[in-house]
Symmetry: C2
Subunit: 515 residues, 2 copies
């Protein structure tokens, strides 16, 4: 049936919804919450029906913005075709998994296709993800999922080799390593088309950090141009549609704090950009997502084997993650720190070490000898800085940007030590919580600058850290949380009592692994 289109600027947080007159919906044979295919020209989208008795005359459909964008509708009054959506076969395959059965590639592809096309309800998607979590998925299924997610999204095709990539599973605050690795590797002649995510539960994602230096919301074509010109890029994955199914799965996984799709999710995005060599950084230790080296090694094995099946050579770097990398936490503070390191102005050893280790592994995998030394040299001589400025320019930023040009929050408060002794520990989770209350990552200038790190000796009155915020109310809230304690441990010696357990505490929300 044909319907005349009206817009009212309605949005449903990413869901495709239309409103039909109740009579029309009955004629179509669909009820409220029923699903229809809406077609315009050669575009089609599946939408959920709401009905109205007053708002809308018969023969008219109110189109939510999500549907409008998918169909690229420009003006009201045009006609769209609406038919009841067929029952998606993939639901049968989801039911198979619910009975604990292993799924084939064809079944998984059908499910992933229907996820991307909006043919499955939230209930069905949530059940699929939960079943993957509780029954587990083996490497065959992980391979199928990775390939199906590549199949149903954009891919980057570059006429060069080797194409390399790096990924961190996240969990350590202040980890701006990527902003150093990309220019080092690219300036050594390898191609690194890096797409990154924004923060979900952290104080800054790599995309948030990079955005302080340059635009990151590039299309896949723009990304290709930048990489062809400069050998590298640092762009936001969200606008590339590299594995769009994953963005939908994440919306289910996040509220449930489960991530059965972690491996396929990461690897599909690497496969989609054509990566041949890949280093996965697995930060490890107390206060990170992976607590022990044993766990890290097991995870590494899975990444390597999944990579092998996808035709990607993977090495993992298990790294020390019990305190922030470098001194800065928060998008602008971190971008400023990274730029200073590239310019040789600052020397946070852990950050430089980690970045050159990872760049070194990538270069080594590409056949370069003494690769760690080359990475250090590339950074020291300013070649990496030069390359970064090329990339900034190619992505549309200001290639002359200086650390001082980067604005950070005006509301600041420095916390000083009340004791003599040492920094015994820094709690990543609580530190991030303080930075987030201060406004990060939304307020780019908000965050924390550490003045001391674990093992540093302190004197009473020494500055420990400065909290930055863009609004005084947020600074106050951040400070309140800081004062509750549990962020940074000072003392003359390690104390034996870790903490007391009284009543059953409600577990704090865990990190989500970054993708």
């Amino acid at each position: 049936m044909k319907f005349k289109v009206r817009f009212l600027g309605l949005e449903a947080g990413g869901k495709s919804v239309i409103i039909l007159n109740k009579e029309d919906a009955e004629d179509l044979g669909v009820s409220s919450l029923g699903r229809v295919r809406v077609g315009f020209g050669d575009r089609e989208v599946t939408a959920i029906v709401n009905t109205a008795t007053k708002l809308i005359e018969e023969g008219t459909v109110i189109i939510y913005e999500e549907v409008r964008r998918a169909l690229q509708l420009e003006k009201e009054g045009v006609h769209v075709n609406i038919e009841p959506a067929p029952f998606p076969t993939s639901v049968y395959f989801i039911r198979h998994k619910l009975r604990g059965r292993k799924l084939t590639y064809e079944e998984i592809l059908e499910i992933v296709k229907d996820v991307v096309e909006g043919n499955l309800s939230e209930i069905e998607i949530a059940a699929f993800v939960t079943a993957l979590h509780s029954f587990g998925l083996d490497l065959d299924e992980a391979t199928s999922l990775s390939l199906a997610m590549v199949e149903t999204g954009n891919t980057l095709k570059l006429d060069r080799s080797p194409i390399v990539d790096k990924h961190s599973i996240g969990g350590v605050p202040g980890d701006k390593t990527t902003l150093l690795v990309v220019p080092i590797v690219a300036s050594c002649g390898m191609t690194i088309p890096k797409s990154s995510s924004r923060a979900i539960t952290s104080a800054a994602g790599t995309a948030d950090r990079a955005e302080v230096l340059m635009p990151v919301g590039l299309s896949i074509d723009e990304m290709r141009e930048v990489v062809e010109r400069t050998n590298g890029c640092v762009v936001w994955g969200g606008s590339l549609y590299l594995a769009p199914a994953d963005d939908i799965f994440v919306k289910v996984e996040h509220p449930l704090s489960i991530d059965p799709l972690l491996l396929p999710s990461i690897m599909s995005k690497k496969k989609a950009v054509g990566a041949e060599l890949l280093v996965i950084d697995i930060p490890c230790g107390r206060g990170t997502k992976v607590k022990t080296i044993g766990e890290a090694d097991l995870l590494a094995k899975d990444f390597i084997e999944l990579g092998r099946r996808l035709g990607i050579r993977v090495q993992c770097a298990v790294t020390y993650g019990e305190q922030p990398v470098g001194y800065a936490i928060g998008p602008a503070l971190e971008a400023r720190e990274a730029l200073s390191v590239l310019m040789g102005d600052r020397q946070p050893l852990d950050l430089i070490d980690k970045a050159t280790d990872i760049a070194g592994i990538l270069l080594g995998m590409g056949g370069i000898e003494n690769s760690k030394e080359l990475a250090v040299e590339t950074l020291r001589t300013g070649k990496a800085e030069e390359k970064m400025r090329e990339i900034i320019e190619a992505q549309g930023g200001d290639p002359e940007i200086k650390p001082d040009d980067i604005e950070v929050g005006d509301e600041r408060l420095t916390v000083r030590s009340e004791v003599d002794g040492y920094v015994l520990w820094i709690d990543n989770t609580n530190l991030v919580e303080v930075a987030r209350l201060a406004g990060a990552p939304k307020d780019k200038g908000a965050g924390i600058l550490l003045h001391k790190k674990v093992g540093d000796s302190i004197k009473r009155g020494d500055p420990l850290l400065t909290i930055y915020a863009e609004r005084s109310s947020k600074l106050e809230r951040a400070l309140e949380l800081f004062k509750e304690g549990g962020v940074i441990g000072l003392g003359g010696r390690v104390e034996m009592l870790i903490h007391e357990v009284r009543e059953r505490p409600i577990a704090k929300k865990a990190f989500s692994l970054e993708r």
Copy 2:
């Protein structure tokens, strides 16, 4: 914040949705798909926010009908209070179950409360149900779920004893047993406050059958009045809110074809009406939900033990279910058959046998001797008919109703045998599919009347069954499916080849167990 209310007759299939101006939503700090508490007087409901840029001026909220009903809003222009919804603690408990942990009563109560109050998203509810399915729930958890569902719904309080009940897990077409059991038991002096469901995947639920004879959409107060007057009733559970959480769980379970909540779902509704003695009918055999007697016994054991924990004495009746009960399938045809049996006009032996067996067990559990004979006698002497007419009158129906007053479909087609021999089998699933294509249960007069049952001898030209429909187009579709075969098996002897397997067939949709 206060908002002025507008209605537009919008419906979202049972979901609570409101539309806010985008600026207002931002001021409230909620995005599209965010959750808010909407308050009016002392009523409160959690709703999902959609936003609009054009439709709606600032300070105004468009209220969907679902929210309007929950808040009992009568006219536009009044003000409601809207605040961001707090994060529901029960999500932590759902995450526990996702890690395979056993839940306590307190945790389960919190989850069920949040389900009923609309505080959980579909994603969270679907994950909970899927986790219950895949990790399983033990009898402690089943007890907690049953009690929590009773706790969060209406209960029926009757000042008499014993209160008895019966339930069939369904799966056999034409099972109008309840319409006989209720009047038999009630006329023997026991109290049987029967609430029943409508068909989901079958051709008729008990509520659909009963509705042909009398109104069934009673409130809990009306139900109490009927039971106090007559000792019994047959009402629809949907308007009683006996365990409203279950109605929400079912909406998740049904599309996934899983039912981890089967036992708590059934038992909570029995507990809510105060049942002390309960018979559960488990139809068993090929073509039913429970295929073997061994499976039936295991299920029975769980029902009995869960009953014990809830203070309900349970016995199960494992019954033969390989063909329909009686001859009629479809709401009106079945109501007519039940009424004829009560009046002594017809004698379908299997139906009479099953009804008096179950009534007999209930009466026996209540301490009556020779209870099966008493049940048969009550039916034979017309006492059961008399009681049924009392109940019909008390529920607002016509107590003088005759079988011929019941309208059945005008479009009819009788299928005749093309061979001599015997009826070898009847396939319940395919038979129901034909009845549903003919219009049942929505078209009350649609259905199937069998003329022969399994074991009956047939001659070429004998009528086998008549399909009834209210529209000729539906009759044709039903007949087409019938002609594809697989509904009724005729022959001189049993053939050894059951069927051939060629390509991988897609499994037909299974029955859902009835609640």
